[in-house]
Structure formats: structure tokens, C-alpha cells
Symmetry: C2
Subunit: 317 residues, 2 copies
């Protein structure tokens, strides 16, 4: 943990979050018990210039605002029940395209728009968009904190595609489309999240980089974690583009924007998890093991590997 | 309704809000039924330079972010159960003072901080803060749309104090403190809202100007409304400062930032409402009458008065 004014500020906000539903602000979402189930609430913001660029297609920004919030719900095993949009008015054409894309996202996720706020006044190039997603969990709501020594670390889907897609876009490339699509239009793993919730000990989504998010889960759970770089799942498109060197694997594991589910499960659950993966048509890969102690270690084909200087995007969010 | 790109945009967002809980985005808050009661959700944003100034005390900005969201809950008769903060990092000292003031507001309202998001990257002078407040209503959740011909229009407290406070601040004045306090630290009428919810036909808060908000209630309810300027409640401090001319009364009725409750009630409820006002120690004043038809009319001591060109802050929110 870096001692910075930002870290101090976040620590002082955590000190205010004394309600058990806040989970110490250490989790992806807040949880409020109701007689209808557990209500899961998350609020993610996107800032122009940081989370999206002025030249990004507005429809993609809208999709991303919805998807990143729903990914937090997926990580808590919650089914989305509504969305509030905090929208900062700007260029009329941009706004129109945003709303069109927002409509596509709402329909795509069958997500009711319940309310929000529309404000004007932000200077050009400084839009801040806010989304609040509300979900309902009928069963267990896994936290980040539940991993135990001996548990395995798993991840859904493939890692690094979105990072490769972003790098391609920055180079002005438009192919491979599958990688660019994974950056532009992430798919929150909602069904997998719901089905996994009562099978896992801890769960979160991978948004800031696999290594960083895995280190956060280990820290929150009070465990050490060894992550096997050679087990990190990579897509065929990614492998064709980047090859399979250790350097490239480290790149994938720190790139972020994956919006896959990262979870800790008892070794006893392995066959059940693989069956579920088969049923859902979504790969689930075992990529590490928790142990007593603290800290993240990396290995590659059983050989220890030094941690890269940046595990992910520490201060982006 | 002005035909502007903003109005078009808001209309296209409304077209997306088909869920009944969204109330067509015409209400102050969204309503979701749960077995524990009706969950009321609202999201209000504050933009630097529009809703607050860079030189405003950060603690006041924090209070206002909480208070404006809770005022929406009050207008729906909901008791606050939690808050999500969307915070845009900037100057470290400003951030520290904001969080200190935010803590004061949370404690003042006994409001649990449940979660949120902290982002960096907004340019200097362009912070956007987002608040999401969650409330629970055990009984009726009044909408804006329920006023019927023959109903009376009522308002709590006094109107214009906050507007006078803001004008004083702009002149560099620090007194009368009561008026400045009403601008800097609005008090959402939470208890009154809960007690009024099942006694009223329609309710909303007064945030953008009494005349504008009253016109909105009339329009949403499909009624005409005559508002009696001479019945608009003014505080002693306001009257001492401004006197009692028609011009000044119009000023009070269009100034905004009042965060009082505006409601429609059957004429039969009048004595009950006055008893409740007595019990709560909060004045409730009858200021108008709904009728069949459409549009807002003004009178002053039974004499018709032309509507001012601006009824309030149309595009601020």
C-alpha cells in the first residue's frame, strides 16, 4: 500500500464506513439485507481522459458504464434489477450517441433504467459519468475476504484480450476484431456469478489487472497466494497476436479491463466447477493456490518469477 | 417545455425508462418494491462551477451532496438507509476537508456510508461528485403526479432564505447567519416527509425555485394551479432584509435551494396538516389551489400577477 494523499483519503473514507453492509469499502459492492433477499449496490464512475477518451465512440462509453457496474454485481452473485445514470451533458451529438448506446446496453442486459440525474456545467473534456447498479442476490453474497489457506484461485474466460484490444486501438488498428470487441464491449459474467456465488469462498471481478486484483483478494483474506503464470488462460486470438513468452504473459496479467470473475474455491469443488464451466460454455481455469502468510508470489512452469513493478492500474479507479 | 438539445436528450432518456419503478423519470426518486417495504433510490450530482464554487468550503459541499439526496428521499416519505459516494479526487487539502465534512453529515443524519467509487483524473476546477441515497418507505410513496383539481398546494418551512443567503455570500456578507446557513447547510425535511407521505396526494421537494417546482407538479398531475404569492411563507430574517414588496416575493419564489417539501392535499386534510405542523414545530402553509386545466397562474392579494420570465433554475440539474 502506497502512502499517498489518495491512500490517506481512501483510508479516511473507510473509517466512515462502519455499517456491516459497507464491508469496510473493501468489496466491489455494498450489501443490504431485505426480506426479498440481499440487495447489492455498486456505484462506478468514468472520467473523460482517464477511463475513456474524448474520441472513443460514445455508444461504447455507455456500454462500458453499464458493463463495469454489472460486473461488480456479477462478482457478488447478484442479478441486476435496476440502474441509475448520472449524466454530464456536453456536446449534443455526443450525448445523442451516448443515449442510443445506453439504450442498446439496457436492452442487452434487460436492465431497467430507474432514475438518475442529468447535469450541465462540466467543462469541455471533463465529463464524469456515474452509474449505480442495484442487484438482488437470493443466496450467498461472496466477499473478497473469504479465501482460506489451501483454497485454489480460479478465473473465468481469458485474460489480456481487452488490454491487447486497447493497445491495437492506440496503434490505429481495427483487427483482430475479437480483441478490440473485448476492450470496447466487455461482457459482465452475470450468469456465471450467480451460479458460482454459493460454490466459492471469495469472489471479485478482474478490472485493474489480474495480478493486482489477485493480490487484493489475498490481502483482504489474510493469505499468501502463489499464482501460476503458465496457467493464466489466454485466447487463441491473443496467442496468435502476442505469442507465448513470459514477458507477454506478464503483460496480459497486468493489463486490466478483463471483467472476468476471480474466485477462491476449496480443492474439493474442482470437478463441480469444471462441470459448471462446461454447462455455461465459459472456461474456468485454476491459476493459483492460497497459503498461510501474506503476499503474492508468481511462478512459471514451477519456476519462481519476480513480480513486475506494476501489478495493474493502482490509481485509476 | 423548451425545445433544446438538452430537452431532447432528457426526453430520449425518459423513453428508455419503461420500468414502473422509474416513474417515467418524472419523479424525484425511483421506487422498487421489496418484501421489506418500498426501496426509494435517488442519485444527484454536483458539478464544480455549476452547483458549487471552487472557493466554497469543502465541508459545505459534502453536506450539500448528502442533503440534496436526502431531500429527495424526504419528498417520497422514505427513511434513509444508506449512501454511496462517487468522489473525484483533486487537491489533497480540499479532499481532506470534504471527507471531514462528509463524516459530519453522515453522523448528523445517522446515515450509513455503504460504498461508492473514488476516481482521479478530472481536470482542475471540474470535479463532479455523485451521491446515491437509498431509503425505505413503509407506506405510501407519493409521486409528483397525484394532485387533483380542488386539492390545495402546501409548502413546509420558509421560502427564499437560501437564495438570500447565496446573494449575501456573493456580496461578501457573512450576516444574517441564519440565511447563509440555510444556503450552506440545507436541512432535508425527513421527519415531515415520513409523516406527510400518507396524508398527501402528491409531494416533491423545492430545489429549483418554488414557482418552477410547483409548475412541474401541476404539469405532471395534469392540472392547472393558482399560487398565491401573498401566502408564500417568508422567514423573519428574510422580511427584515428584503421587506415585503411583490418584486421581492417573486424573487423568493424563484430563487431555489430551499429543500422544503411541496405537496398537494385534499381540502379535508387541512386541520390534520396544521396539527401535524404544530406537533413537528415546522410551519406548513397553504399557498395555492389546483383546478382542471393546465398551466400556472399567480395571484397576490387576489389580484392576478404576470409570471416572471424565469420560474427558477431550469437547466441547472
Amino acid at each position: 500500500v502506497t502512502a499517498s494523499p489518495e491512500a490517506d483519503l481512501i483510508a479516511s473514507l473507510r473509517a466512515l464506513a462502519t455499517h456491516e453492509g459497507a464491508r469496510g469499502l473493501l468489496d466491489d459492492a455494498a450489501v443490504l439485507a431485505t426480506d426479498s433477499g440481499q440487495l447489492v449496490l455498486t456505484c462506478d464512475m468514468l472520467v473523460e481522459g482517464t477511463h475513456f477518451l474524448s474520441e472513443d465512440p460514445p455508444a461504447d462509453v455507455a456500454w462500458k458504464l453499464v458493463a463495469v457496474n454489472l460486473s461488480d454485481l456479477a462478482a457478488k452473485g447478484a442479478r441486476p434489477v435496476g440502474f441509475l445514470l448520472g449524466f454530464s451533458l456536453g456536446d449534443a451529438e455526443w450525448d445523442r450517441e451516448f443515449v442510443a448506446g445506453f439504450g442498446v446496453a439496457l436492452r442487452g442486459f434487460e436492465l431497467p433504467l430507474l432514475g438518475g440525474d442529468t447535469v450541465s456545467g462540466a467543462p469541455v473534456g471533463a465529463r464524469t459519468l456515474a452509474g449505480t447498479a442495484i442487484g438482488l442476490a437470493r443466496g450467498t453474497v461472496p466477499a473478497r475476504t473469504g479465501a482460506r489457506p489451501g483454497d485454489h484461485l480460479w478465473v473465468t474466460g481469458a485474460i489480456g484480450d481487452a488490454g491487447a484490444g486497447l493497445a491495437l486501438l492506440r496503434q490505429g488498428a481495427v483487427e483482430p476484431a475479437s480483441l478490440i470487441e473485448r476492450y470496447r464491449a466487455p461482457r459482465p459474467r452475470l450468469e456465471a456469478g450467480e451460479r458460482l456465488a454459493d460454490r466459492v469462498e471469495a469472489m471479485m471481478d478482474v478490472s485493474d489487472g489480474l495480478l493486482l486484483d489477485a493480490a487484493r483478494m489475498a490481502q483482504a483474506s489474510g493469505c499468501a497466494l502463489t499464482l501460476d503464470l503458465d496457467s493464466v488462460p489466454l485466447s487463441e486470438a491473443w496467442l496468435r497476436l502476442r505469442g507465448d513468452s513470459r514477458t507477454q504473459r506478464l503483460e496480459a496479467a497486468t493489463a486490466g479491463d478483463d471483467y472476468e470473475l476471480l474466485f477462491a474455491a476449496s480443492p474439493d469443488s474442482a470437478s463441480d466447477l469444471l462441470e459448471l464451466a462446461e454447462e455455461l460454455g465459459l472456461p474456468m481455469s485454476r491459476i493459483g493456490t492460497f497459503a498461510t502468510g501474506a503476499g503474492l508470489s508468481l511462478s512459471d512452469r514451477s519456476e519462481p518469477v519476480a513480480l513486475p513493478p506494476n501489478l495493474g492500474f493502482e490509481h485509476r479507479r
